[in-house]
């Protein structure tokens, strides 16, 4: 076989190397600066966690099976909150996505739609949950609303990117045979986007299960309420049970979601 020598590298490699070194120094300096200014008492932190590890960890591994009934009910509520919330989000996100996609309603609507979506995405789920607990009271409905609004931002953005990536030549072909805008939507656009939309909605449901298990901490329903009580009471056996429930449910749903999404696309 012939031996090839690679062509010489571009000339500005030296400048590039200098630039990379400067960036590396800046990043390291940033880390040092942040860690020194947080003011952590390392000695105390390590001693305390070693102590707690001995007390807490073994209890977490011997879950309190007596709490199984209560924990399952609460976990079920968490799943329901996630399901209702992500379903609501998947519906609200569709019109917003069409608004935000730059190949559907024109440039100006697209800018407005993108602004709305990023404004929604700016709030973490937990902040939304606090707001809705104040607005509708400390119950699961607050959790559903928090999940719905939180997921709308992300799903809307994903959906609009899916719409932007469709094959516009198919749209052109429909235009060329005399179809009107609604017919083009149903014949050229929807068949291209629906499978991806479903796939992302299911994925978001998976994420929302995790998100909704924490919402109870601020009183928005679900298993988070039990977590905060168990932690406050130092009831680590019950905490172990709760964590076990979360792990089992999240794993099952991850697995099912992956299988379903494989089938769809």
């Amino acid at each position: 076989m012939d031996q090839y020598s690679l062509p010489p590298k571009p000339k500005n490699a030296f400048m590039k190397r200098i630039r990379n070194i400067v960036i590396a120094i800046a990043v390291v300096a940033l880390y040092i600066w942040t860690f020194t200014s947080i003011d952590i008492d390392w000695g105390r932190a390590i001693e305390r966690s070693l102590n707690n590890f001995q007390r807490v960890i073994p209890k977490l591994f011997s879950p309190d099976w007596g709490a199984l009934g209560e924990v399952s009910l609460s976990m079920l509520e968490t799943v329901f909150i996630a399901f209702a919330g992500s379903l609501m989000a998947a519906i609200i996100a569709v019109p917003l996505a069409f608004l935000a996609a730059n190949n559907m309603m024109g440039k100006y609507f697209s800018i407005i739609g993108k602004w709305i979506l990023s404004a929604i995405r700016a709030f973490p789920d937990l902040i939304l949950a606090i707001l809705f607990v104040v607005a509708v009271g400390p119950n699961a409905f607050a959790g559903v609303l928090a999940i719905a609004i939180g997921s709308t931002g992300m799903l809307g953005k994903m959906f609009s990117e899916i719409i932007e990536s469709i094959d516009m030549q198919v749209v052109e072909a429909m235009q060329a045979n005399g179809a009107n805008r609604i017919q083009i939507l149903f014949y050229a656009v929807l068949p291209q986007i629906i499978p991806e939309f479903l796939s992302y909605a299911i994925y978001r449901f998976e994420v929302d299960i995790r998100a909704s298990s924490i919402l109870g901490i601020v009183g928005a329903g679900g298993i988070g309420t039990m977590i905060i009580f168990a932690a406050n009471n130092r009831n680590w056996n019950e905490m172990g049970m709760i964590l076990l429930a979360i792990i089992v449910v999240v794993t099952i749903i991850d697995f099912a979601s992956a299988k379903i999404r494989q089938k769809i696309v």
Binding site: Q169, E172, A173, Q175, A176, A179, N180, F186, Y187
Partner: protein
């Protein structure tokens, strides 16, 4: 009848797509437009169904100036001019049947079409169209399960289902291998003869143009540089159209089709 009267088109970026085009295409003709890429073939063909809009002159289709058409008039014009694309432009995830029925969209009401409530006539027309291009056994397959040549035949069936008066084919064989290309051109020619549908095809293979065309229009730089019956055309004519000598890649070969 299609009449170009002093039609010019300048794109927003300043490119001159068409330059003072004057040409008349009579009903029932099979016209092949030849020229190198960038010669204006695509712009010419897309002006006829207004996928692009010429900036000056007048373009008459059946004695109506279509350059002013909007909304409903435009959809009516497009309903009677079917189009075939280089990339077939089928909805890949939909069935062959649904793709072919899309040809009826201009004829069928909005509500009926989105609810999939097609009349028996429409359905049998779709099936007959598939039969005419010998692909009826794939009717329930998804479009992306088909080969390129099969997909192009489905797109011909879609145009047939549209029952157009004119067929515009924009480089219909540019993505196909030689034998499949000849097959597709043969179908187009057959439809032109049997149904009397005026057909305008863009090609850049000279041997193919000579074999299938009744009339050849040569374009270069947005202008028509040759217009005459295919029988008067020789390689010399193509050298004039292309402005250079003919090379091997200008021919598709495989003309002795099976």
């Amino acid at each position: 009848m299609i009449e170009f009267k002093d039609v010019s088109l300048v794109y927003p970026n300043g490119t001159q797509g068409l330059k003072n085009i004057n040409v008349t295409i009579k009903d029932g003709e099979f016209v092949v437009i030849v020229g190198l890429s960038g010669a204006g073939k695509s712009t010419f063909i897309r002006s006829i169904n207004r996928l692009v809009t010429p900036t000056s002159g007048s373009l008459l289709v059946d004695n109506e100036d279509i350059l002013t058409f909007k909304g409903k008039d435009l959809r009516k014009l497009r309903t009677k001019t079917g189009m075939i694309f280089q990339n077939y432009n089928l909805v890949k995830r939909s069935s062959v049947l649904k793709n072919v029925l899309a040809g009826r969209l201009g004829h069928v009401g909005t509500v009926r079409s989105i609810l999939n409530m097609y009349s028996k006539e429409d359905l049998s027309l779709a099936y007959e169209s598939l039969k005419r291009v010998n692909i009826e056994e794939k009717i329930y397959n998804r479009a992306d399960e088909l080969s390129g040549g099969q997909q192009q035949r489905v797109s011909i069936a879609r145009v047939l289902t549209q029952q157009p008066k004119y067929i515009l084919a924009d480089e219909p064989v540019a993505s196909l291998d030689p034998p499949t290309s000849h097959q597709v051109m043969t179908y187009l020619k057959k439809i032109n003869k049997e149904d009397g549908i005026t057909t305008i095809v863009n090609l850049h293979f000279i041997d193919m143009a000579m074999e299938y065309a009744d009339r050849i229009i040569g374009m270069r730089g947005g202008e028509i540089v040759f217009d005459g019956p295919a029988s008067e055309v020789s390689e010399k004519t193509f050298e004039e159209i292309y402005g250079r000598s003919i090379r091997e890649e200008d021919k598709i070969g495989g003309a002795d089709k099976s």
